[in-house]
């Protein structure tokens, strides 16, 4: 009698959101959305001397290419990126923004509005983007769903390795900042600086995904990426992303964007709450968590269950069989609560 009812409403909504965002971010231009028209923030342009130097580079360089379009320059804390050369509605990877602005030594007054938007969104929503918007997250989810349908075994990272990956994320984040600073030193010759310019994009696993699905016809050329070590790293990260076929959301554990947002998870206005008494400690929330986090399960003293590695997918709330035990709050209002499903 209740077959038509959606059993997991949060997951259902999330999938819709992920599909829509994926289409908007990756294929947005195909839909005919004019980029410039939508931009409400000032466009940050590269200083003239850079433009000259960029133009003089060899053809086909994807990240440094001269045909770099005037993108919709709203830096949402999600990944869509300059690898989506011709399309893409948002060019929104905040790490890209950080790296590029440092390299260009962009004056702070130009950055202000971008940072403000980022802060507002991060404080409001925390890592909501990772679970609901991020196209990389979506790709990982899809990989996992394929495995699930083939009934292949799910694997887990050990707690220790999870920690190692998180530390790797910190390392990555810090090195991106350092490398960007390096690329901004005017005294260094351009041939050196261009090696480390936009190191975040050079190391990004997306290099092997978006050019193939987002650009048409495929114009990707590996040769300009001969910056050896970065290519090796990006291949490693791409493989890590593919691991999410067996281990859910494997890339998310390293992702520097997610790391940056995770600092806002605690205390963001989108919050999870738990009624400790109602929890029976059944452990279902651990089993369904894509990042197999134990925080929700373990917390039995406080109501606040926000923590850094949560991607706000709310699967725990979807699956929790205790009525009113877990809740999603937004700006102090309950959006959704766990309930017992028949």
């Amino acid at each position: 009698m209740e077959k038509n009812k959606i059993r997991r409403p949060m997951t259902f909504l999330r999938r819709i959101s992920q599909i829509l965002c994926f289409i908007l971010i990756v294929f947005g231009a195909f839909l005919g959305i004019k980029k410039q028209n939508l931009s409400f923030l000032p466009f940050i342009e590269a200083p003239l001397e850079y433009k000259e130097q960029l133009k003089s580079e060899e053809k086909g360089a994807v990240i440094l290419g001269p045909a770099y379009p005037q993108a919709f320059d709203t830096y949402l804390p999600v990944k869509s990126c300059r690898f989506l050369r011709q399309v893409g509605t948002f060019r929104a990877c905040f790490m890209h923004f950080v790296s590029e602005s440092i390299s260009w030594l962009t004056p702070p007054r130009l950055l202000f509005s971008h940072i403000l938007l980022f802060l507002i969104l991060a404080v409001l929503l925390g890592r909501f983007w990772c679970g609901w918007v991020c196209p990389l997250g979506f790709i990982q989810d899809i990989l996992n769903i394929i495995r699930k349908n083939f009934k292949l075994r799910r694997f887990f990272f050990s707690e220790k390795f999870k920690k190692t990956l998180r530390n790797l994320g910190y390392l990555l984040f810090i090195s991106i900042i350092i490398l960007s600073l390096l690329s901004a030193i005017p005294k260094l010759p351009w041939s050196v600086r261009k090696q480390v310019y936009l190191s975040v994009c050079q190391m990004c696993p997306v290099r092997f995904i978006f050019p193939y699905i987002g650009n048409w016809p495929i114009k990707h050329n590996f040769s300009p990426f001969g910056y050896g070590i970065f290519t090796m790293i990006s291949i490693a990260f791409f493989l890590l992303l593919l691991v999410s076929f067996f281990i859910k959301r494997s890339w998310c554990r390293v992702c520097p964007s997610g790391l940056l947002l995770s600092f806002f998870n605690k205390g963001s206005f989108l919050a999870k709450r738990k009624e400790p008494l109602k929890c029976t400690r059944c452990g279902i929330c651990v089993g369904v968590c894509p990042l197999d986090n134990k925080e929700v399960y373990l917390q039995k003293k406080k109501k606040n269950i926000d923590f850094a590695s949560c991607i706000h997918c709310f699967r725990c709330i979807d699956f929790c069989p205790e009525k009113n035990c877990l809740k999603v709050y937004f700006l102090g209002k309950t959006l959704f609560r766990s309930k017992f499903k028949r």
């Binding site: 799910r154 029976t280 279902i284």
Partner: protein, 419 residues
């Protein structure tokens, strides 16, 4: 697969036929049923459960069953695995006093009555115990541990070692236990527990548990729709009954009750939460006293009651490993058995039940010689005292001799709550 029992000495099992044991069980059951029938409103098809608990028909039915029957104790045993092997699980925990006396012929008096009562059934070769081809026993407490040893002379016994806590290392050990149990069942029944079968049985049991939760929610909305004893009766029939039939009947029951809801009013009965050691049919002495004195048992956290059907096995995906992991988690993590070193989960459960059911008072059933529960009652008592929730501890066993004393205590407790 590791063998736990070495069985260096094989002894001839002690057996003794006791005449009239079946009649005695029937008499004890009918005594309870008579007391339960005094209640004003009872659901129509409760008579089905009454028949099942009397056991005669079901016994004959199981006797004719061609497959394997596997007995088990406690709430830790995953019935999914047994059903997946096309075998029937029967829970053997017993609350029958007469078999305690049988057992006392060979074991001392100062031993847990539950173990004695259950073992007494084996000695006297009666009841469901005789039909079992093998028994699965967990190790929550010392009497059960030693019961494993004694029973190994009688029939194949499989041990499931319960960890001392619920930390992640313990969870791993427990998962290994579950996996080796799976292998054992596969060996014994000569059936492979395939992924598909596991998925089916998990769904089957999930259906039973959700149905039970439905009934639980109906009672939460209006506890007076169904007496506490009737509720426990429904739960405890599920230990023996054919699972699909039980599901059908309980579905019917839920339908009946949800219709009834509209024209049944809440009155001024005192709401009681019963917690503590297991209360198993036909040892309903304490429950009979409470409800006969006009109070209502609205909820319980007994392992022979709500706990045995409440917890869900919810695998995220139908792959063998995830399903086995979910089974392991489902049976270990939400258990509130006092066998765990720190058992705050139980205190939380009790406090939550008090809040959700707006309980007036807590009655703690402390089975004599059930040390774990007896020790735990101390902290619970202090916590409840702090929260100003009255609690009465009743120390008793399976015999009827202290009925009057308990009645005085419970009655005084209820008089105290009435004010």
């Amino acid at each position: 697969m590791k063998e736990i029992l070495e069985r260096r000495y094989t002894l001839t099992p002690f057996k003794k036929e006791i005449k009239g044991l079946k009649d005695a069980f029937r008499r004890a059951s009918l005594r309870n049923l008579d007391s339960m029938r005094k209640r004003g409103f009872r659901p129509k098809n409760i008579s089905y459960y009454e028949e099942v608990i009397l056991g005669e028909k079901r016994y004959e039915e199981l006797k004719g069953f061609s497959g394997r029957i596997i007995g088990y104790f406690c709430t830790f045993i995953p019935q999914e695995l047994i059903y997946a092997a096309r075998a029937i699980p029967i829970r053997l925990c017993s609350g029958f006093y007469d078999t305690v006396l049988v057992c006392e012929e060979i074991l001392a008096k100062d031993i847990c009555p539950l173990v004695k009562s259950s073992f007494g059934f084996k000695i006297s070769a009666s009841s469901y115990f005789e039909l079992c081809d093998a028994v699965i026993l967990p190790t929550p407490c010392d009497p059960k541990k030693k019961l494993i040893e004694i029973l190994s002379d009688y029939l194949p016994v499989w041990v499931l070692k319960i960890p001392q806590d619920k930390t992640s290392s313990s969870k791993e050990i427990w998962l290994e236990e579950i996996k080796s149990l799976k292998e054992r069942i596969e060996d014994f029944t000569k059936t492979k527990l395939t992924r598909q079968r596991l998925e089916e049985t998990i769904k089957l049991i999930h259906k039973r548990q959700t149905l039970f939760r439905q009934l639980y929610e109906i009672r939460r909305a209006n506890p007076y729709l169904m007496g506490g004893r009737d509720f426990l009766l429904v739960i405890q029939t599920s230990f023996y009954d054919d699972i699909e039939r039980w599901i059908d009947k309980t579905e019917e029951l839920c339908k009946q009750l949800s219709k009834e809801k509209t024209h049944f009013k809440t009155d001024e009965k005192i709401k009681i939460l019963v917690t503590g050691s297991p209360i198993i049919w036909p040892n309903f002495k304490l429950l009979n006293i409470i409800e006969d004195l006009g109070a209502e048992i609205v909820c319980d956290d007994l392992c022979s009651g709500t706990q045995s059907l409440y917890n869900l096995v919810e695998p995220d995906e139908p792959t063998t490993d995830v399903m086995l992991g979910a089974i392991a988690d489902g049976y270990l993590l939400s258990s509130v058995c006092p066998c765990f070193i720190e058992n705050n989960d139980r205190i939380d459960r009790v406090l939550n039940l008090i809040e959700e059911f707006r309980v007036g008072g807590v009655i703690y059933h402390s089975l004599r010689l059930c040390q774990l529960y007896e020790i735990e009652s101390h902290r619970l008592r202090l916590i409840l005292k702090e929260k100003k929730i009255p609690m009465l501890t009743i120390h008793t066993d399976y015999s009827q001799e202290d009925t009057e004393q308990i009645k005085t205590r419970v009655e005084a407790f209820l008089e105290m709550l009435k004010r």
